[in-house]
């Protein structure tokens, strides 16, 4: 269980008649890197801002380090934020920006100087003390913003899509740096993003959100291998999702009838006649020239997309539904227009209850 350093209980947020966050319950463990992941408008940023203190929860309780903070102003909370647009003070130098927090708390000048130098070195921005923010690149501003937040030794650092404005290569680099930083300093990071790859790379746990609700929370591998709703299966990584009805349920295996054919998947707790989704990741789909023993769906090869590391093959199934598979190398035996059979290991596919929303 660990110690919950941040605890949200039955938190609700309304903006006028807009129900933005619905009965949110979240326990964030100390020292973990938790990501709130979801599409725009799902309420992840609002949740973050409620923890920081820029929004008041309409109802519910928020605790940081065991203390109730709903009544506290942002400057009274022991959390710091890295903002989406960095929000560096334009009229102050890098040094003054980073020194701001300690300066407010009246830390002695030489102590401040020592800490600022330390922080800038930590984020690899040493020597930039006298620069003004408008003379910095996006990545540099980013790092100054992080230094400015971390110098206050917060127990919890909130990051609101901080890498959104950076180009791809820089973003990937920063993701690794941020993760390393978090490990090194052993601070709790609460991270908000809509980029699921980013979430998968950095997080200890991911909370997938949609429409103000957490659909699923867990380790990246858990969420990837065992998505509990169709949305999560779709949102995280790529997957092929089939709709169908259970025709047989025995020994942990389900036989499912779908418009594209009969498939087998592992799954528990389903009754025959029940509607469900079957999700299979592209990397687990296999094709062969002939029907295999467990099950096969007839398909026609549509096209290949070469993506550098992997090749994605698209195939059309019996009723025209598209299925994708990915491989590290193109299968040279298969050509466009070929008729083949598609199958997978039932242990690799996931059975998802229809219309399920869980926390």
């Amino acid at each position: 269980m660990g110690n919950s350093i941040v605890s949200l209980q039955h938190v609700e947020k309304w903006f006028g008649s807009n129900h933005v966050v619905k009965d949110m319950n979240l326990e964030i463990e100390e020292g973990e890197f938790l990501t709130l992941l979801g599409p725009s408008g799902c309420g992840k940023t609002t949740t973050l801002r409620m923890i920081a203190g820029f929004e008041d929860a309409t109802s519910g309780t928020i605790e940081v380090q065991g203390e109730r903070v709903e009544e506290k102003e942002p400057f009274q909370r022991d959390v710091n934020t890295v903002f989406q647009n960095y929000s560096l003070f334009p009229h102050m130098t890098v040094y003054d920006n980073v020194a701001y927090g300690p300066m407010i708390r009246k830390v002695p000048k030489d102590e401040i100087k020592k800490r600022v130098t330390e922080m800038l070195e930590l984020v690899q921005m040493s020597g930039y003390e006298k620069r003004k923010p408008d003379a910095l690149s996006g990545g540099q501003k980013q790092r100054v913003a992080i230094a400015r937040a971390l110098i206050n030794n917060p127990r919890v650092l909130l990051l609101d899509e901080p890498l959104g404005a950076l180009d791809l290569k820089l973003r990937k680099q920063m993701q690794i740096e941020l993760k390393r930083l978090q490990r090194k300093l052993d601070i709790t990071f609460v991270y908000v993003t809509h980029d699921q790859e980013e979430a998968m790379t950095m997080s200890d746990r991911i909370a997938v959100m949609r429409d103000g609700v957490i659909l699923q929370i867990g380790k990246p591998t858990d969420i990837y291998d065992h998505p509990r709703t169709k949305f999560v299966a779709d949102f995280i990584g790529e997957s092929n999702v089939f709709e169908g009805t259970v025709s047989r349920a025995a020994g942990g295996l389900l036989t499912v009838e779908t418009p594209q054919g009969v498939v087998t998947t592992c799954g528990e707790g389903f009754q025959p006649g029940e509607k469900l989704y079957v999700s299979i990741r592209p990397e687990f789909v296999s094709i062969g020239p002939a029907a295999s023993e467990s099950f096969s769906l007839p398909a026609k090869v549509k096209d290949f997309i070469y993506m550098g590391a992997v090749t994605k093959t698209s195939l059309d199934l019996a009723d025209g539904k598209e299925i994708k598979l990915s491989r590290f190398e193109a299968d040279s035996a298969v050509h466009e227009g070929d008729g083949v059979f598609v199958s997978w290991d039932p242990a690799r596919s996931v059975a998802i209850k229809a219309e399920e929303v869980q926390q």
Partner: protein, 290 residues
């Protein structure tokens, strides 16, 4: 192919020439009265009607402070302008920030009211205030003039500030509070400095409007001391003396010099900042990279 290209170039160049020429023409129209005004400050005549020869005696007379009317009026105008600027900037800047940030009942109404002094002819405003002051029995004088000036300066200050505050300002304040500064500290350390250009703009605008104001000052001064513009207006009947030209020439000269100095200062400081920053970075990189 070549002929079309050169024809296009010629067309572009000629249009650029003519538009530049037009701009110069307009600037000339703006500056002609200024030039004439300066020229006539050297006019050797008791009153400014015709040119009667070159002299610098008016400047001598000006700086001998012999024309007490003129200097009294100038000092009076300056005092009023400074006070009006101070009041208008404080109320206007606070108002601009507040109106941008907060919602409250009657906000739309106040917003509309702010535009009234800007749009409505000044005479209407002046007359309205005059009527009220006299009816209530307030004595006309510096106080009423000051109130009048502030009434049209404040809206300009508000509008200037509102134009300079972007949504960014909100996040800067959040960042400040996130780092531990309370509202008061945030206001003085973050909000005000970041809109400083807007504040100086507003101050400058208010000062200019106040010191040049005729209508309001004329209506609301009663029989007391005149401001400089009012004095000039009354002198128009009998003809202006060239020392008023001298005075205005000196004023504008000071202004232009002041402007250039401030500009030069800013440029120098920016260069110094950039140089210091570059030096610091080079020191670090040579320490690391050797």
């Amino acid at each position: 192919m070549k002929s079309t290209k050169s024809r296009k170039l010629r067309r572009q160049r000629s249009s650029r020439f003519w538009s530049g020429f037009y701009a110069v023409l307009i600037y000339t129209v703006f500056y002609i009265p200024v030039a004439v005004m300066i020229a006539f400050s050297f006019n050797d005549a008791p009153r400014n009607y015709y040119w009667q020869g070159f002299t610098t005696r008016w400047y001598a007379k000006l700086f001998s402070f012999a024309n007490t009317d003129l200097w009294d009026a100038l000092i009076y105008s300056l005092i009023i302008a400074l006070l009006a600027t101070a009041i208008s900037v404080i109320i206007g800047v606070l108002g601009g920030i507040g109106l941008k940030k907060f919602e409250f009942r009657g906000k739309k109404f106040i917003n509309m009211m702010i535009y009234v002094p800007i749009i409505v002819p000044e005479i209407v405003l002046a007359v309205a205030m005059l009527i009220i002051f006299i009816t209530i029995g307030v004595k006309l004088g510096m106080g009423t003039i000051l109130i009048g000036h502030c009434t049209f300066c404040i809206p300009y200050a508000v509008v200037t500030i509102k134009g300079r505050i972007s949504g960014d300002n909100e996040t800067l304040q959040e960042a400040s509070m996130d780092l531990g500064a309370n509202r008061r500290q945030t206001f003085w350390r973050v909000t005000v400095p970041s809109i400083m250009p807007g504040i100086t703009s507003a101050a400058f605008l208010s000062f200019t409007l106040s010191i040049d104001d005729v209508v309001m000052s004329n209506m609301l001064s009663g029989a007391t001391q005149s401001t400089l513009p009012v004095l000039i207006l009354s002198m128009n009947r009998t003809g202006l003396t060239p020392d008023t030209n001298a005075l205005t020439t000196v004023m504008i000269a000071l202004l232009v010099i002041g402007l250039l100095t401030v500009n030069a200062f800013q440029r120098r400081r920016r260069k110094k900042d950039a140089r210091l920053a570059a030096e610091a970075e080079m020191a670090i990189s040579s320490a690391h990279g050797g």
